[in-house]
Amino acid sequence: MRNTAGTIIMAEAVHEEPARIGGGKLTDTEIENNKNNTMVEQSSTLLRRLEISVAEAEKRTGKNTVNMQETFTVYLIETRPIDAITDGHNPAPDSLWRRYSEFELLRNYLLVTYPFIVVPPLPEKRAEFVWHKLSADNLDPDFVERRRVGLENFLLRVASHSVLSNDKILYHFLTEEHEWKEVVYETGFQAKADSRIKALSATFRVKNPDKRFTEMRHYSDELQSITSQLLRVRARVADRLYGVYKVHGNYGRVFSEWSAIEKEMGDGLQSAGHHMDAYAASVDDILEEEEHYADQLKEYLFYAEALRAVCRKHELIQYELETASSDLVSKKHQREELATGMVRTFSFKGMTNKLFGQEAPEQREARLGLLEEQIVEGEETVKEKTSECQEYVKDAWVDIQRFKEQKDRDLREALVSYAVMQISMCKKGIQVWTNAKECFQKM
């Protein structure tokens, strides 16, 4: 089964959600089916029961942890039960305000609690891959708007995930404004977080990881590198395109001035000038639309990190298993040595025995007893770790498959929408230049 924390939360969630369709506790088979059918049905997921949106953003000022004034943005989360809506009523939504940092806290909690899930990412903390016109300021309204959309997307993804959506803390986050932070901290998730160093070292020292996970980790590195490159170049392309369009605005100005001194050409020039101004202005909308494409790429840039984390966790668990196994083996060897007096391998104890003579039989008995205990413990540990590892591999692989299909779908759609944007840009260009040509012909 998944880790114990998950199971408990699962059970609690069942009890606390009265409006759940189908009611009652889910069996293991059902849980399994749900995970597999996430894409097709969402009947067990939160999103089916609750309409969720991040409706607005507002600026607030307040005192921070070091008692200094700061300005920050809060986002309005609105929820409405679906059956209330489908019943024909139109109830006002429940709502509460949350800061970006609270979303971060939620996500960190999910990462630790469900390490086998590729957890959806948050929109970026700071504006990156910015091209010159775009602001890098976190308080810039365009940035805030894009972040609002990104936060909503995050909630929708989490709430439609067959495993994550049942989390009690998530439900709390969506429905109860106050003391949510305290409740999260009480779960003690922070203590369960793996240290970075531990995880990293496991990656290098693990001997027999599941090859599929190793390959996935390599893929996640490639995905991260590629999307990052793509975003960088896209920003530069956008910058240059902006330049081309805006310079045409100068045509507008000069044509207008020139038309003042011409007789026959005056009208044609003047109206052509207006079209040049329109052309220059059109790039703003074009690039604003393209930011949406960039956001889609960014989501998968960050998803790559989440995928890598799942693979790393496998390597860590596998490494812990390997360590436990080899510890057990070495303890058994020590026991054998002690029992038979045969020195299999070099040991300090063996040396001192030779130099200073064997120890007393009572001491030997004590040590042997201790070893026996340790061996029993060790065997238990190995059994647990083996089981943990197997469960993890099974659960994680399922979610990785789900992620893969989602990624293929989403990115294909993103590429298609990029093509649609390009076509729209071309159509606008054709229109403007056709109009301009007509004006030139009247010159």
């Binding site: 590629i226 896209r234 001194i261 293929d408 054709i430």
Partner: protein, 417 residues
């Protein structure tokens, strides 16, 4: 073939004759009353006002400049261009001529034309040097651009009713290299030409007193036009620069999608598709930039040079008037040599009238040419931009179509599985 022979006493360097064809094309007589008095120039003064369409119908001389070749001698390296002439005009002995000319020869021709017709608007030549440095003189693009500009120059002269009758022009088109060299040596020597220049400078210092209103208006127009056309030239060059930089970035963009497709399975199709689209758009962008550089930039640049020519023409006209005014004053103040002075003053007055009417006539013609050239250049540019966007749109639509077809194929697969 009849023609009006110009009094060579008045214009010492004039050796041209009027072609008969032109006299048949005088449609819109200039309504300027002054022209009636000077009947022997009346036909000449009004000759420029015919419509452009008529001119092309009667085009009887075709000139092309092509085939640049470099020549290396002990002293220097230079480029010559082939000048091909086809004509039915009777003052030409043959109907076809092929000669080689270098830039210096074009400069000589322009100088002679301006000398003979100080107030006619002669099309500009491409610049002597590229500002950046001499080394670039023989760069391929430079030669191509120059060749095109020289071609346009000669054609403008050939299309001009007065200038195309110039004897110097005929010699330029027909003489062999050594013939041209010896022809050039004729005419007023260096000293007499220097004298002319000194007089011109002295006159320009004196300044003109009673410039007719229409020439002041012309000057104001030329100032403003020069200003605007320079701005357009700069704007267009800036657009070319920005487009090239855009193209540079776009060229890096496509390959990343191809690289990405190497890591994917399901997404290989769409990723490669997008990479392909971007690559094709790059090609279209390159073509569009080239068109701008080949058509609009040179045209605007030529009109920048034109506006300098116009300023020079107006200055020369002013100088002619200033010279007359000076002589006129002398006539009023000096008591001796009244007869000689009177004759000189009359001659100069004639010269002013002639210069004014020449300019007025050519002005309308120049404006029509300018309008035609710039209109055509902008229309071509607009059309090229339309073509560019249409081609790019088609590229992306093909990609979309392929994705939609794949999508429906996948849907079928899902149904059947």
């Amino acid at each position: 073939m009849s023609g009006t022979i110009v009094d060579s006493a008045v214009f010492p360097n004039q050796t041209n004759t009027m072609a008969a064809d032109i006299s048949g094309q005088m449609l819109d007589l200039d309504e300027d009353d002054d022209l009636e008095v000077f009947s022997k120039q009346a036909t000449r003064g009004s000759a420029f006002e015919f419509e452009e369409e008529e001119a092309s119908d009667f085009k009887d001389i075709f000139v092309t400049v092509d085939n640049p070749e470099s020549h290396i001698t002990a002293i220097e390296t230079f480029i010559t261009y082939r000048v091909l002439t086809k004509t039915t005009r009777s003052e030409f002995d043959n109907s076809e001529y092929e000669v080689r000319r270098r830039y210096q020869d074009f400069l000589w021709l322009k100088g002679k034309l301006e000398e003979a017709h100080p107030t006619l608007i002669v099309h500009p030549l491409p610049e002597k040097f590229v500002v950046k440095g001499m080394v670039e003189r023989f760069n391929g693009d430079f030669i191509e651009t120059r060749k095109n500009a020289l071609h346009r120059f000669l054609n403008r002269v050939a299309d001009h009713p007065i200038l195309s009758c110039s004897e110097d022009f005929k010699v330029f088109l027909t003489a062999q290299v050594w013939e041209l060299a010896s022809y050039k040596k004729q005419g007023p020597g260096l000293l007499s030409r220097m004298g002319e220049t000194v007089r011109a400078v002295a006159n320009s210092v004196r300044g003109v007193k009673n410039r007719p209103e229409e020439f002041t208006a012309m000057q104001l127009y030329v100032e403003a036009f020069s200003n605007k056309i320079s701005s357009l030239d700069k704007v267009t060059q800036r657009i070319v620069k920005e487009q090239k930089e855009y193209l540079g970035e776009l060229k890096e963009f496509g390959p990343i999608y191809t690289l990405w497709s190497g890591s994917e399975e399901e997404l290989v199709g769409p990723l490669k598709g997008v990479a392909g689209c971007i690559e094709r758009c790059c090609k279209e962008t390159e073509e569009q930039v080239n068109q701008l550089s080949d058509t609009l930039v040179p045209t605007l640049h030529e009109y920048v040079l034109c506006s300098e020519s116009l300023k020079a023409v107006l200055r020369r006209r002013d100088n002619i008037q200033a010279e007359f005014e000076a002589k006129n004053e002398a006539l009023a103040t000096k008591k001796v040599d009244q007869d000689a002075l009177k004759e000189e003053t009359d001659r100069l007055e004639d010269r002013v009238e002639w210069a004014n009417s020449a300019l007025k006539g050519d002005w309308g013609r120049w404006q029509r040419c300018m309008r035609g050239d710039l209109k055509s250049a902008f229309i071509t540019t607009a059309q090229k931009n339309i073509d560019y966007y249409e081609k790019c749109q088609a590229v992306w639509e093909t990609f979309l179509l392929s994705q939609r077809m794949d999508g429906s194929e996948d849907a079928e697969k899902d149904d059947s599985s």
